[in-house]
Point group: C2
Chain length 399, copies 2
Amino acid sequence: MERGRGALGPALELVHTGRAPTRAVLTSELGVTRATAGAVAAELEALGLIQVDARPGAPAGSQGRPSHRLSVAPDGPVVLAAQIHADGFRAALVGLGGRMVATAPGCMTVPSDPSHIIDAVVEAGAGLLRETGRRCLGAGLAVPSAVAEPEGTALNPLHLSWPAGAPVRTLFTEALAKAGVPGLGSATAVGVTGNDVNLAALAEHRHGAGRGAQHLLCVATGHRGVGGALVLDGKLHSGSSGLALEVGHLTVNPAGLPCHCGSRGCLDVEADPLAFLTAAGREPGPEGSLLQQSRELLRSEYGDPSVRAAAELLIDRLGLGLAGLVNILNPDRVILGGLHRELLDADPERLRAVVADRSLWGRSGSVPILPCGLDHNSLIGAAEAAWQPVLDDPLAVLG
Amino acid sequence: MERGRGALGPALELVHTGRAPTRAVLTSELGVTRATAGAVAAELEALGLIQVDARPGAPAGSQGRPSHRLSVAPDGPVVLAAQIHADGFRAALVGLGGRMVATAPGCMTVPSDPSHIIDAVVEAGAGLLRETGRRCLGAGLAVPSAVAEPEGTALNPLHLSWPAGAPVRTLFTEALAKAGVPGLGSATAVGVTGNDVNLAALAEHRHGAGRGAQHLLCVATGHRGVGGALVLDGKLHSGSSGLALEVGHLTVNPAGLPCHCGSRGCLDVEADPLAFLTAAGREPGPEGSLLQQSRELLRSEYGDPSVRAAAELLIDRLGLGLAGLVNILNPDRVILGGLHRELLDADPERLRAVVADRSLWGRSGSVPILPCGLDHNSLIGAAEAAWQPVLDDPLAVLG
DNA sequence: TGACTTTGTGCCGACGCTAAACAAAATAAG
DNA sequence: CTTATTTTGTTTAGCGTCGGCACAAAGTCA
């Protein structure tokens, strides 16, 4: 009777990622008949998730009957997304399509007790929901630490002065329950929590510079240390216990600084913002995160020989690490975030040359290396993770 | 009308890997009704792929009606599998379940022209088919080199004196056509060709020490260099262009030997059979492969302090490399082959300790490290790759 | 204005499954 | 030895979902 139940999830994902602007391409992307695609679109519209324009869209010189445009419902449900970083936190409501509907930055200093900041994050999010009156289908949180699966504990929140092993997922879920966030009573997506770089990679793959990539590698550095993430065939690969892509301990400078892991010259200590400031002969100042200070220095004083030399040194180290990763993972695209993105912008040719030189075959070494293309990609990624149950099976969530 | 078409492939894979010994477990594994599972089994039996025992199997003290055992058809179709290695080649006919039906080792010295040995391999396989009169549904070849996708060219056949970039898949397919191997006229699986360690990993996952693993990492060394492979959720991860898991150039000894890749102390030159013989103060002899000589030395003279010291040195280097891979890939099982398997057998505790010590968290470092569990796993893996189209959709092949 | 091209919808039938009743083959209990 | 129980396997009926097809709609091109 009702047609197009099996394809409901894939269809929503296509509209969500902007790959199905019309019912016609939805038909071909799903590999179903026009009748089925039409029924799917109608069902998604009835669920309030997508919108079908009444008037046909721009013909653009093409022949045939113009198609009605499909887009994400602008007033549809949202998810609560949040991110904790070195300088505080940010909470937001995010709709389908990665659209930020409302946001509340919080510049609170991160306390040593993770439950305090998580409570504050959730309270900010609940406030946004009250203000906007939006329906909420899930919640996601990005933390700057590896998150062990399936427990959801933060294993190395090095620069947050948190205790190792903090049960962030439990704290987040409990805070959501305590705050009485409407719509999250029985939702599947309550309290999705993950590593910030992992979630950023997911967001970049869906809405940013990673669109269309089959095997996407992301590497980024924010405050201290280096994080990595891998998206395979649209799915985040976080390993069997959530600890994959801990790329910070690749050796990139055998005679380098000692690292807390017991080795020397790890990417973590040789290619993060602190390493850059040190290499440029600057003392980290008290104001702003190390990333902000590094970015400022790189952008405004790139003419200074010591700054330029420091940048080239970090590019060379980063390139060595990337080459190792490319040899192991053979991605078809690499995206850089944080300071690494700035370094790429500063001298893209140098970085690409180092990677190509150290890769085993020109083939894999010529992989495109791009800057990340989204603002707040960790936050959007947290939203993506929260949306996932809806994308998998809209009917199961919205029955 | 006909029941159980969609589940035909998954059902065959369950019987193939021994995870569905009866129709009852087939029912629960597939998540379908008994009726559907029964129809699926009947269909597979009608296709000549599986066998349903006439007499019920061992009751084993259980209540209820005893179930009939499902097994792979012993006289069913086969695939042609072949492997080329440093000492020559081996061809075999392999049935479902990884059963070797007939085999023909060839100890020919590998010539510098790859087409000669590939022709010889195919001729040997065709001879086996003529002798046995079996129906052949596909063919697979394992080569000791990275194989670029989608071209199917061997990029680094270092110890075969082949030219880099030899089009092994084309050569294999053409040789199959020339030899007139019956049943391969229009088969989808004609000329599946891949890296030997990759295929070995696939075989270990299906029939060997990797059964049940979700994220399986395999590392092995045969003659020269070190190879790696990763099986994710039952599927081989070979990267976007077939070049993933080139693990040989992880740095494991910063002050070590120069490597052709331009770096020093790579796993490739620090943890292969030649490195072991050298560390033990032995000259490689003219007879037998370096793996055979190393294995002999390790097994018969482990009491000799220089041999033992060499083994421990290689274990430490291998452990360092494995720790790096574990940090990046976070597998839930690691399998070692070739000389690495011998080193593991020689001192399992030492290797596990090194890996655990260098892993970032005890959690990921305590990953089980096991010796490979199959003889001729690359050969069986080549057969698995050849079987894949049948496992994906039996009707499409046997229509 | 009419032919053509492409998009969207309604109807029917077929395919592949579930559900449920029934049958079969063993063990356990009386 | 008979009967109840448990688990497995089969048959039948029915239904949901999708493909095929015809038709309608809305534009371009000649």
